[in-house]
Symmetry: C2
Subunit: 577 residues, 2 copies
Amino acid sequence: MPTLRIALAQDNPIVGDLDHNADLIRRAASAATVAGAHLLATGEQSLTGYPVEDLALRHSFVEASRDRLVRLAEEIAADGNGSLPVAVGYLDADGPVGSTTGHGIRNALALLQDGKVLFRYYKHHLPNYGVFDEDRWFVAGHELHLARIGGVDVAFTVCEDVWGGVPFTVAEEAGAGLVININASPYEQGKHERRLAVVKERAAGVGAPVAYLNTVGGQDDLVFDGGSMIVAADGSIISSARRFASELLVTDVECPAASRAIANHSSSLMSTSLHVLSEEPAAIETRIEPTFAPELGRHEEVWEALRLGLADYVNKNGFPSVLLGLSGGIDSAVTAVLARDAIGADRVHTVANPSQYSSQHSLDDAADLAERCGLHHVVEPIQPIVDAYLAEIAVSGLALENLQARVRGVIWMSLSNQHGHLVLAAGNKSEYAVGYSTLYGDSCGGFAPIKDVLKTLVYELANWRNEKARSLGETEPIPENIIMKPPSAELRPDQLDSDSLPDYAVLDGILVGYVDGDAGREDLVEQGYPADVVERIAGLVDRAEYKRRQSAPGTKITVKSFGRDRRLPITNHFRGK
Amino acid sequence: MPTLRIALAQDNPIVGDLDHNADLIRRAASAATVAGAHLLATGEQSLTGYPVEDLALRHSFVEASRDRLVRLAEEIAADGNGSLPVAVGYLDADGPVGSTTGHGIRNALALLQDGKVLFRYYKHHLPNYGVFDEDRWFVAGHELHLARIGGVDVAFTVCEDVWGGVPFTVAEEAGAGLVININASPYEQGKHERRLAVVKERAAGVGAPVAYLNTVGGQDDLVFDGGSMIVAADGSIISSARRFASELLVTDVECPAASRAIANHSSSLMSTSLHVLSEEPAAIETRIEPTFAPELGRHEEVWEALRLGLADYVNKNGFPSVLLGLSGGIDSAVTAVLARDAIGADRVHTVANPSQYSSQHSLDDAADLAERCGLHHVVEPIQPIVDAYLAEIAVSGLALENLQARVRGVIWMSLSNQHGHLVLAAGNKSEYAVGYSTLYGDSCGGFAPIKDVLKTLVYELANWRNEKARSLGETEPIPENIIMKPPSAELRPDQLDSDSLPDYAVLDGILVGYVDGDAGREDLVEQGYPADVVERIAGLVDRAEYKRRQSAPGTKITVKSFGRDRRLPITNHFRGK
């Protein structure tokens, strides 16, 4: 069998920043050429970033993407890498675009060589569920392209094509010896395992290796987790790239030789086109050893997703630093440590805002954590400000609890406006789900790192992060006292979360069924949860929709996180016409 | 030609409140029976409300919709109206639904008679643009149903079917003598005229009358504007219902008699089924005179949309009252008058929050408006509270401007929490578009009535509303001074909007092209706008995305209002399993 040296560029593009993304691709082409690769693939929409959302409906952006692709082909050739075939994901349309023409916008892959665009493939399966809205933005393609490279017929596909499967069936009919599948596949817990299973199934179906390339990096509430891999027809993993980090994965892959005549033919499902680049098997002087990425444990995987999502939100939006309120509780503690791991201690500012109901141990615990982590920490009491409000308006009960939270929020936002910090909201998924947060109070901020993390998982992450520090001989970042004490909002005397909510194990169990799943109230009672608790929690979830909608984006780690509130990507660097 | 007496129930259902909506349909059936109607049609998803959003993905909600439909058929018969055929819009699926089954969810129409469901039609064209996400929720149907009623073959279609047109082509091939089209069509400026044009085109194509029924009422940021109508094959309007109000439109309509044999046949586009209810032309003792709704001027139409959207948001969410800050400026003035028109003066509370930069004329103008309109008005100075913050933290410049706005926001939210008012945000589309509002300050609140109204239109509405009062011999609600003075945020000495923004006529012109349209920066310069102004405004719009995303819902009156931030409908009364 011929051997192809395949380079997969697992890169981190920025939505809308065409020049930055083109530079990433040029650098990958140079590195792949140095490595002696016969083919370089880059991620889904590697030139435009993903998801482009409503930018897809701007004719100026579609035109900019197409123009930039042509220039990129020329630049790669000018760099001396023209003979390397390079697969690039980008945004295209099946004709001229403009204010007056209809849509025919395509999620496209182009193969570049010798300064030219050899062909343009349009994604066949368009996902339109969960975070995906591709029926809204794109039109599906129906022509599969194969390139004969070193005597191997390589088929090119995009993301959902591997789940839907039609292009793989057609690739098998066309005698493909390798299928490239470029992705921008967002992270969810357990998804990497599902990907591996489907790639194995497709490789077996085609009877040839499948090269699965994923993007890496955070984009608003999505995080692409990398983990690119090449899987053989027998299901064995030939090589794999790291999760949550950029990497150029170069692998020598034995592929079935091209057997069919040079002629385009039509399947009943999609038409196919064959482009011959080189008939002779490529010469390889020294085989390179395949690399395999370490597998991550469940908690490390989640932590890395949250860390990368936060880091990229801060950096892609150009914030110099972050600020968050440090209450002495578990949520703000985990958020602060995540921030330090993401962008470094010197860019993390914390503030404690004690009221008359704050305990001394909370203040001490907050200061202890800030010191262990080397964060900039200040204390700003809120009681005099609360009293100034109370001199003006009569508030009591829940309204007074909310007032305290909002005074803190105003202080954080004022410091943000004055100094340029991004405010982080430290709320977790359990409390957002039932509405146990104050709108414009603790929920305010530009990013909510753990908004998709259930409270029970917050505790697990805290313990895992401390354990990791111990195993490295480092100081545990989170004081044990913060992990051990019972959770409280400290907005009235002796308040405990357990006064008004069931045990978090019970609450989270109900939320997994009712929010993440499709369980109705009766289903949950059948599962053994008390009917009155189910009724109350489901009612709270239904009523909390408005607050959830107004909360900040935060890294998504489950199938149904809250919010699909995009219209334009926030992290959007398009500066075109 | 036979004559059918058609009743169209232009009603205002509530999303998720199946019992309430079923009662509306029962009452319409009773009224239609009394009126001697031969057929009653109700709106798209009249049983479930529209749009149901993610409720469509809850098996318990789909099951509740199906069960309620069957009970509704029995109830209509028990009410003594069983012989009346009633078309009902609801949510269905093409098989059992449950946690483990795939989707086959349908946007459906059922024809009920004699306590039974005669047939179930599944909407053919599913819109998936703008506010519509129907490819996400539903699967398209491919079978058209006709009912022979009084010797006329009546075809039944749903909403987008009239725009896409395939079911109308099939209805023509099947010899339909009348086509019913039930809608939940949201308002946009100019849309009613486009509807009339397409209904005329379809009626001419089928060669028979088309009965276009629209829903009425506000649902979060959508407002359904009614305006149901029956249009003859020659394009003449046979009858029409009011805009923005419920109505049972009963009309005697001459329809071509059924001519084809009783047999189901297949078109190449959709299959068809014919259900025979009655062959003999219906007897009509006394023809009733058709009714025609008055046409609305442009400003009255927009005002009514905003008024109804606000009224239904307040009432469907169960708020006793609203509260808003009254600055003495034009935006809060128009918002306050809208609120009074929507829910009555006694439910409207206003508060003036002067700072050291507030002018006396602003305070006077606010008090004058409150008095003219009979609103509950109080004055709460903010300077002592601002000073309390400044004693704690050092803020200046823009941060200090934002601080003042946020202190006001906290006061409004505290009063809301204490007394149960819904806070209204008074921002307009021009300022939200460029980010000229304070996050968690003036932008806070549960509903933003004029968030989709450009500043120039805010002025036009103010003048129109005063003119309307004059024409009725009433006091002008808005003091002339509020309309005449130059706009200012009054957050620093002698501040004017024109210090930092171009004239609103120029700003709004750019926004119409750049936000509502697909104009790029170059297109706008070609249209004659100065390049530096275009560059600055487009940059502000791109950067303001985050704030827009966190702002309250507000009635949509243009093609592209901000925000498509729904996951579950906020106004959601589903209390099922």
